[in-house]
Protein backbone atom coordinates (compact mmCIF):
# COMPACT_ATOMS: atom_id res chain seq x y z
CA UNK A 1 0.00 0.00 0.00
CA UNK A 2 1.13 3.46 -0.78
CA UNK A 3 0.41 4.70 2.70
CA UNK A 4 2.83 2.14 4.04
CA UNK A 5 5.54 3.60 1.87
CA UNK A 6 4.60 7.03 3.14
CA UNK A 7 4.76 5.60 6.63
CA UNK A 8 8.41 4.76 6.17
CA UNK A 9 9.12 8.36 5.32
CA UNK A 10 7.18 9.75 8.21
CA UNK A 11 9.15 7.72 10.72
CA UNK A 12 12.28 9.59 9.75
CA UNK A 13 10.52 12.92 9.76
CA UNK A 14 8.94 12.34 13.11
CA UNK A 15 12.13 13.07 15.01
CA UNK A 16 12.24 16.66 13.87
CA UNK A 17 8.50 17.09 13.96
CA UNK A 18 8.13 16.06 17.57
CA UNK A 19 11.11 18.17 18.57
CA UNK A 20 9.30 21.40 17.82
CA UNK A 21 5.75 20.49 16.94
CA UNK A 22 6.15 21.27 13.27
CA UNK A 23 8.26 24.19 12.05
CA UNK A 24 5.91 25.92 9.65
CA UNK A 25 2.57 24.37 10.29
CA UNK A 26 -0.50 26.40 11.12
CA UNK A 27 -2.29 23.07 11.50
CA UNK A 28 -4.20 21.85 14.45
CA UNK A 29 -2.05 18.81 14.65
CA UNK A 30 -3.42 17.21 17.73
CA UNK A 31 -1.86 14.04 19.08
CA UNK A 32 1.59 14.99 17.87
CA UNK A 33 4.41 13.20 19.54
CA UNK A 34 3.10 9.72 18.75
CA UNK A 35 0.66 9.16 21.57
CA UNK A 36 -0.61 5.94 20.07
CA UNK A 37 1.72 3.10 19.15
CA UNK A 38 0.36 2.97 15.61
CA UNK A 39 1.01 6.65 15.12
CA UNK A 40 4.22 5.95 13.23
CA UNK A 41 2.31 4.85 10.15
CA UNK A 42 0.56 8.19 9.93
CA UNK A 43 1.70 11.37 8.31
CA UNK A 44 2.93 13.55 11.14
CA UNK A 45 1.80 16.90 9.79
CA UNK A 46 -1.52 17.65 8.19
CA UNK A 47 -2.16 21.27 7.37
CA UNK A 48 -5.40 22.92 6.34
CA UNK A 49 -4.71 26.11 4.44
CA UNK A 50 -4.81 28.03 1.23
CA UNK A 51 -1.98 26.17 -0.47
CA UNK A 52 -3.79 22.85 -0.14
CA UNK A 53 -7.08 24.39 -1.14
CA UNK A 54 -5.56 25.99 -4.21
CA UNK A 55 -3.57 22.88 -5.15
CA UNK A 56 -6.74 20.80 -4.92
CA UNK A 57 -8.72 23.22 -7.03
CA UNK A 58 -6.05 23.61 -9.71
CA UNK A 59 -5.31 19.88 -9.90
CA UNK A 60 -8.95 18.95 -10.09
CA UNK A 61 -10.22 21.66 -12.42
CA UNK A 62 -9.30 19.86 -15.68
CA UNK A 63 -10.74 16.62 -14.30
CA UNK A 64 -13.87 18.49 -13.27
CA UNK A 65 -14.08 19.82 -16.79
CA UNK A 66 -14.22 16.21 -17.96
CA UNK A 67 -16.84 15.46 -15.33
CA UNK A 68 -18.86 18.35 -16.71
CA UNK A 69 -19.61 16.00 -19.59
CA UNK A 70 -21.55 13.87 -17.11
CA UNK A 71 -23.12 17.00 -15.70
CA UNK A 72 -24.47 17.95 -19.08
CA UNK A 73 -25.73 14.38 -19.52
CA UNK A 74 -27.44 14.55 -16.14
CA UNK A 75 -28.99 17.90 -17.02
CA UNK A 76 -30.36 16.47 -20.23
CA UNK A 77 -31.79 13.44 -18.39
CA UNK A 78 -33.28 15.66 -15.69
CA UNK A 79 -34.83 17.84 -18.33
CA UNK A 80 -36.43 14.80 -19.94
CA UNK A 81 -37.65 13.57 -16.55
CA UNK A 82 -39.51 16.84 -16.15
CA UNK A 83 -37.33 18.64 -13.61
CA UNK A 84 -37.06 22.36 -13.94
CA UNK A 85 -33.74 24.16 -14.30
CA UNK A 86 -33.96 25.24 -10.65
CA UNK A 87 -34.78 21.73 -9.41
CA UNK A 88 -31.99 20.07 -11.36
CA UNK A 89 -29.29 22.56 -10.37
CA UNK A 90 -30.46 22.47 -6.76
CA UNK A 91 -30.16 18.69 -6.77
CA UNK A 92 -26.64 18.93 -8.18
CA UNK A 93 -25.69 21.58 -5.64
CA UNK A 94 -26.83 19.66 -2.55
CA UNK A 95 -26.27 16.06 -3.60
CA UNK A 96 -23.11 16.19 -5.70
CA UNK A 97 -23.07 12.49 -6.60
CA UNK A 98 -23.45 11.88 -10.31
CA UNK A 99 -24.41 8.24 -10.57
CA UNK A 100 -27.04 8.47 -7.85
CA UNK A 101 -28.54 11.61 -9.37
CA UNK A 102 -28.86 9.97 -12.75
CA UNK A 103 -30.54 6.97 -11.10
CA UNK A 104 -32.82 9.31 -9.17
CA UNK A 105 -34.06 11.11 -12.24
CA UNK A 106 -34.50 7.77 -13.97
CA UNK A 107 -36.82 6.80 -11.10
CA UNK A 108 -38.50 10.21 -11.17
CA UNK A 109 -42.25 10.05 -11.68
CA UNK A 110 -45.44 11.81 -10.70
CA UNK A 111 -46.01 11.45 -7.76
CA UNK A 112 -42.32 11.26 -6.81
CA UNK A 113 -41.49 7.84 -5.25
CA UNK A 114 -39.48 9.46 -2.49
CA UNK A 115 -38.74 6.35 -0.41
CA UNK A 116 -37.52 4.36 -3.41
CA UNK A 117 -35.33 7.19 -4.60
CA UNK A 118 -33.80 7.80 -1.17
CA UNK A 119 -33.04 4.09 -0.72
CA UNK A 120 -31.51 3.81 -4.19
CA UNK A 121 -29.43 6.92 -3.60
CA UNK A 122 -28.27 5.56 -0.25
CA UNK A 123 -27.23 2.24 -1.78
CA UNK A 124 -25.45 3.82 -4.69
CA UNK A 125 -23.57 6.22 -2.44
CA UNK A 126 -22.68 3.80 0.35
CA UNK A 127 -19.27 3.45 -1.26
CA UNK A 128 -18.49 7.00 -0.13
CA UNK A 129 -18.37 5.67 3.44
CA UNK A 130 -15.42 3.52 2.45
CA UNK A 131 -13.79 6.41 0.64
CA UNK A 132 -14.27 8.64 3.67
CA UNK A 133 -12.88 5.93 5.94
CA UNK A 134 -9.77 5.74 3.77
CA UNK A 135 -9.12 9.41 4.52
CA UNK A 136 -8.94 8.83 8.25
CA UNK A 137 -5.15 8.73 8.74
CA UNK A 138 -5.01 12.36 7.62
CA UNK A 139 -8.41 13.68 8.63
CA UNK A 140 -8.14 12.50 12.22
CA UNK A 141 -5.76 15.43 12.72
CA UNK A 142 -8.26 18.04 11.58
CA UNK A 143 -11.10 19.69 13.45
CA UNK A 144 -14.59 18.16 13.07
CA UNK A 145 -15.86 21.25 11.27
CA UNK A 146 -13.18 20.96 8.61
CA UNK A 147 -13.58 17.21 8.28
CA UNK A 148 -17.36 17.14 7.98
CA UNK A 149 -17.38 20.22 5.78
CA UNK A 150 -14.81 18.69 3.44
CA UNK A 151 -16.61 15.35 3.30
CA UNK A 152 -19.64 16.99 1.72
CA UNK A 153 -17.49 17.45 -1.37
CA UNK A 154 -16.42 13.81 -1.72
CA UNK A 155 -16.96 12.51 -5.24
CA UNK A 156 -15.16 9.68 -7.02
CA UNK A 157 -12.77 11.80 -9.03
CA UNK A 158 -11.66 14.30 -6.43
CA UNK A 159 -11.45 11.61 -3.77
CA UNK A 160 -9.05 9.78 -6.07
CA UNK A 161 -6.92 12.87 -6.63
CA UNK A 162 -6.97 13.62 -2.90
CA UNK A 163 -5.82 10.12 -1.98
CA UNK A 164 -3.00 10.49 -4.47
CA UNK A 165 -1.95 13.81 -2.97
CA UNK A 166 -2.18 12.64 0.64
CA UNK A 167 -0.44 9.30 0.14
CA UNK A 168 2.43 11.20 -1.48
CA UNK A 169 2.96 12.77 1.94
CA UNK A 170 1.97 16.33 1.13
CA UNK A 171 -0.13 16.63 4.27
CA UNK A 172 -2.45 19.09 2.55
CA UNK A 173 -5.69 18.51 4.42
CA UNK A 174 -7.58 21.14 2.41
CA UNK A 175 -6.90 19.34 -0.86
CA UNK A 176 -10.24 17.50 -0.70
CA UNK A 177 -12.11 20.75 -0.14
CA UNK A 178 -10.29 22.55 -2.95
CA UNK A 179 -10.74 19.74 -5.44
CA UNK A 180 -14.32 19.32 -4.27
CA UNK A 181 -15.10 22.98 -4.90
CA UNK A 182 -13.80 22.59 -8.45
CA UNK A 183 -16.03 19.54 -8.90
CA UNK A 184 -19.00 21.34 -7.39
CA UNK A 185 -18.63 24.43 -9.60
CA UNK A 186 -18.35 22.46 -12.83
CA UNK A 187 -21.01 19.99 -11.78
CA UNK A 188 -23.63 22.60 -10.95
CA UNK A 189 -22.79 24.76 -13.97
CA UNK A 190 -22.80 21.84 -16.38
CA UNK A 191 -26.11 20.61 -14.97
CA UNK A 192 -27.62 23.98 -15.81
CA UNK A 193 -26.10 23.80 -19.29
CA UNK A 194 -27.50 20.29 -19.76
CA UNK A 195 -31.02 21.31 -18.82
CA UNK A 196 -30.74 24.39 -21.01
CA UNK A 197 -29.52 22.66 -24.12
CA UNK A 198 -32.00 19.83 -23.60
CA UNK A 199 -31.66 17.33 -26.35
CA UNK A 200 -29.14 19.26 -28.45
CA UNK A 201 -26.29 17.18 -27.03
CA UNK A 202 -27.42 13.67 -27.70
CA UNK A 203 -24.50 11.50 -26.69
CA UNK A 204 -21.51 12.44 -24.48
CA UNK A 205 -19.92 9.10 -25.44
CA UNK A 206 -19.16 10.53 -28.85
CA UNK A 207 -16.53 12.76 -27.27
CA UNK A 208 -15.14 10.05 -25.04
CA UNK A 209 -16.30 11.94 -21.94
CA UNK A 210 -17.94 8.81 -20.57
CA UNK A 211 -14.44 7.38 -20.34
CA UNK A 212 -12.98 10.08 -18.10
CA UNK A 213 -13.64 8.19 -14.87
CA UNK A 214 -12.11 4.95 -16.20
CA UNK A 215 -8.99 6.77 -17.40
CA UNK A 216 -8.49 8.48 -14.04
CA UNK A 217 -8.99 5.25 -12.13
CA UNK A 218 -6.62 3.23 -14.32
CA UNK A 219 -3.93 5.85 -13.73
CA UNK A 220 -4.70 5.78 -10.03
CA UNK A 221 -4.49 2.00 -9.87
CA UNK A 222 -1.01 2.15 -11.40
CA UNK A 223 -0.06 4.69 -8.78
CA UNK A 224 -1.50 2.77 -5.83
CA UNK A 225 -0.01 -0.57 -6.84
CA UNK A 226 2.43 -1.54 -4.15
CA UNK A 227 3.97 -4.70 -5.51
CA UNK A 228 3.10 -8.19 -4.34
CA UNK A 229 1.43 -7.01 -1.13
CA UNK A 230 -1.35 -5.55 -3.26
CA UNK A 231 -1.92 -8.76 -5.17
CA UNK A 232 -4.23 -10.67 -2.82
CA UNK A 233 -6.47 -7.77 -1.74
CA UNK A 234 -6.74 -6.47 -5.30
CA UNK A 235 -7.59 -9.89 -6.69
CA UNK A 236 -10.25 -10.31 -3.99
CA UNK A 237 -11.64 -6.84 -4.73
CA UNK A 238 -11.72 -7.49 -8.46
CA UNK A 239 -13.33 -10.93 -8.20
CA UNK A 240 -15.92 -9.79 -5.68
CA UNK A 241 -16.74 -6.65 -7.66
CA UNK A 242 -17.17 -8.54 -10.93
CA UNK A 243 -19.41 -11.13 -9.27
CA UNK A 244 -21.48 -8.51 -7.45
CA UNK A 245 -21.90 -6.45 -10.59
CA UNK A 246 -23.31 -9.54 -12.29
CA UNK A 247 -25.83 -10.10 -9.51
CA UNK A 248 -26.91 -6.59 -8.54
CA UNK A 249 -27.40 -3.39 -10.43
CA UNK A 250 -26.28 -0.07 -9.02
CA UNK A 251 -22.96 0.47 -7.30
CA UNK A 252 -23.02 -2.42 -4.81
CA UNK A 253 -19.97 -3.94 -6.45
CA UNK A 254 -17.79 -1.08 -5.22
CA UNK A 255 -18.90 -1.64 -1.66
CA UNK A 256 -18.62 -5.43 -1.90
CA UNK A 257 -15.21 -5.38 -3.56
CA UNK A 258 -13.67 -2.84 -1.20
CA UNK A 259 -15.26 -4.50 1.82
CA UNK A 260 -14.15 -8.01 0.86
CA UNK A 261 -10.56 -6.89 0.30
CA UNK A 262 -10.49 -5.14 3.68
CA UNK A 263 -11.98 -8.19 5.43
CA UNK A 264 -9.48 -10.53 3.80
CA UNK A 265 -6.65 -8.26 4.86
CA UNK A 266 -7.94 -8.16 8.43
CA UNK A 267 -8.24 -11.95 8.53
CA UNK A 268 -4.80 -12.46 7.04
CA UNK A 269 -3.37 -10.20 9.70
CA UNK A 270 0.25 -9.18 9.76
Amino acid sequence: MTSRRGGGRSVEDEGSATAEAGPDSPSRSVESGGVEPDERDDPDEVTFGWSGLRAGFVTCAPVALGVAGYGVAFGVLADRAGLTLAEATLMSAVVLAGASQIIAVELWADPIPAATIVLAVFAVNLRYSLMGAALRPWFRKLSPGRVYGSLFFVADENWALTMRDLTSGSGRGAFLLGSGLAMWLFWVASTAVGVAVGDVVDDPARFGLDYALVAVFVALAIELWDGSSSLVPWAVALGTALLTAQLFSGQWHVLAGGGAAAVVEVVRGE
Partner: protein
Protein backbone atom coordinates in the same frame (compact mmCIF):
# COMPACT_ATOMS: atom_id res chain seq x y z
CA UNK B 1 -31.61 12.58 -1.17
CA UNK B 2 -29.08 15.17 -0.12
CA UNK B 3 -29.26 13.92 3.46
CA UNK B 4 -28.86 10.28 2.46
CA UNK B 5 -25.85 11.16 0.34
CA UNK B 6 -24.23 13.26 3.04
CA UNK B 7 -24.73 10.50 5.59
CA UNK B 8 -22.93 8.02 3.35
CA UNK B 9 -20.11 10.48 2.83
CA UNK B 10 -19.46 11.13 6.51
CA UNK B 11 -20.60 7.79 7.95
CA UNK B 12 -17.43 5.79 7.48
CA UNK B 13 -15.11 8.33 8.99
CA UNK B 14 -17.49 9.16 11.81
CA UNK B 15 -17.69 5.53 12.82
CA UNK B 16 -13.93 5.10 12.70
CA UNK B 17 -13.31 8.05 14.97
CA UNK B 18 -15.44 6.42 17.63
CA UNK B 19 -14.05 2.92 17.81
CA UNK B 20 -10.57 1.74 18.67
CA UNK B 21 -8.70 0.46 15.67
CA UNK B 22 -6.22 -2.39 16.04
CA UNK B 23 -3.35 -3.33 13.75
CA UNK B 24 -5.36 -5.83 11.75
CA UNK B 25 -8.17 -3.39 11.09
CA UNK B 26 -5.56 -0.82 10.16
CA UNK B 27 -4.11 -3.20 7.60
CA UNK B 28 -7.61 -3.74 6.25
CA UNK B 29 -8.16 -0.02 5.92
CA UNK B 30 -4.84 0.47 4.20
CA UNK B 31 -5.84 -1.73 1.30
CA UNK B 32 -9.09 0.20 0.86
CA UNK B 33 -7.99 2.87 -1.63
CA UNK B 34 -6.51 0.37 -4.08
CA UNK B 35 -9.33 -2.12 -3.55
CA UNK B 36 -12.01 0.51 -4.15
CA UNK B 37 -10.26 1.68 -7.29
CA UNK B 38 -10.10 -1.89 -8.58
CA UNK B 39 -13.72 -2.53 -7.60
CA UNK B 40 -14.87 0.56 -9.49
CA UNK B 41 -12.76 -0.28 -12.52
CA UNK B 42 -13.31 -4.02 -12.90
CA UNK B 43 -17.00 -4.10 -13.86
CA UNK B 44 -16.67 -0.90 -15.89
CA UNK B 45 -13.93 -2.41 -18.02
CA UNK B 46 -15.76 -5.74 -18.16
CA UNK B 47 -18.83 -4.09 -19.65
CA UNK B 48 -16.70 -2.25 -22.18
CA UNK B 49 -15.22 -3.79 -25.28
CA UNK B 50 -11.87 -3.90 -27.10
CA UNK B 51 -11.79 -0.09 -27.57
CA UNK B 52 -12.16 0.50 -23.82
CA UNK B 53 -9.63 -2.21 -22.96
CA UNK B 54 -7.09 -0.92 -25.45
CA UNK B 55 -7.51 2.64 -24.17
CA UNK B 56 -7.08 1.38 -20.60
CA UNK B 57 -3.79 -0.25 -21.60
CA UNK B 58 -2.64 3.03 -23.16
CA UNK B 59 -3.58 4.90 -19.97
CA UNK B 60 -1.70 2.35 -17.86
CA UNK B 61 1.47 2.85 -19.91
CA UNK B 62 1.21 6.63 -19.81
CA UNK B 63 0.48 6.63 -16.07
CA UNK B 64 3.43 4.35 -15.37
CA UNK B 65 5.83 6.40 -17.46
CA UNK B 66 4.72 9.86 -16.36
CA UNK B 67 2.74 9.49 -13.13
CA UNK B 68 0.61 12.34 -14.46
CA UNK B 69 -3.12 11.78 -13.87
CA UNK B 70 -4.24 14.65 -16.10
CA UNK B 71 -2.10 13.57 -19.01
CA UNK B 72 -3.40 10.02 -18.51
CA UNK B 73 -6.96 11.32 -18.55
CA UNK B 74 -6.47 13.30 -21.74
CA UNK B 75 -4.68 10.46 -23.49
CA UNK B 76 -7.31 7.98 -22.33
CA UNK B 77 -10.22 10.03 -23.59
CA UNK B 78 -8.46 10.63 -26.90
CA UNK B 79 -7.50 6.96 -27.21
CA UNK B 80 -11.01 5.69 -26.54
CA UNK B 81 -12.47 7.94 -29.22
CA UNK B 82 -9.83 6.73 -31.69
CA UNK B 83 -10.21 3.05 -30.76
CA UNK B 84 -14.01 3.23 -30.89
CA UNK B 85 -13.70 4.49 -34.44
CA UNK B 86 -11.14 1.83 -35.35
CA UNK B 87 -12.18 -1.27 -33.39
CA UNK B 88 -15.45 -3.18 -33.22
CA UNK B 89 -17.20 -2.87 -29.88
CA UNK B 90 -18.83 -5.79 -28.10
CA UNK B 91 -22.51 -5.27 -27.60
Amino acid sequence: MAVATYLTKVGGLWLLSRVEVGDRVRAGLEVLPGAIVVAVLGPRLAEGGPPEWAAAAVVAVVARRTGNILLSLAVGVGAVVAFRAALPSVE
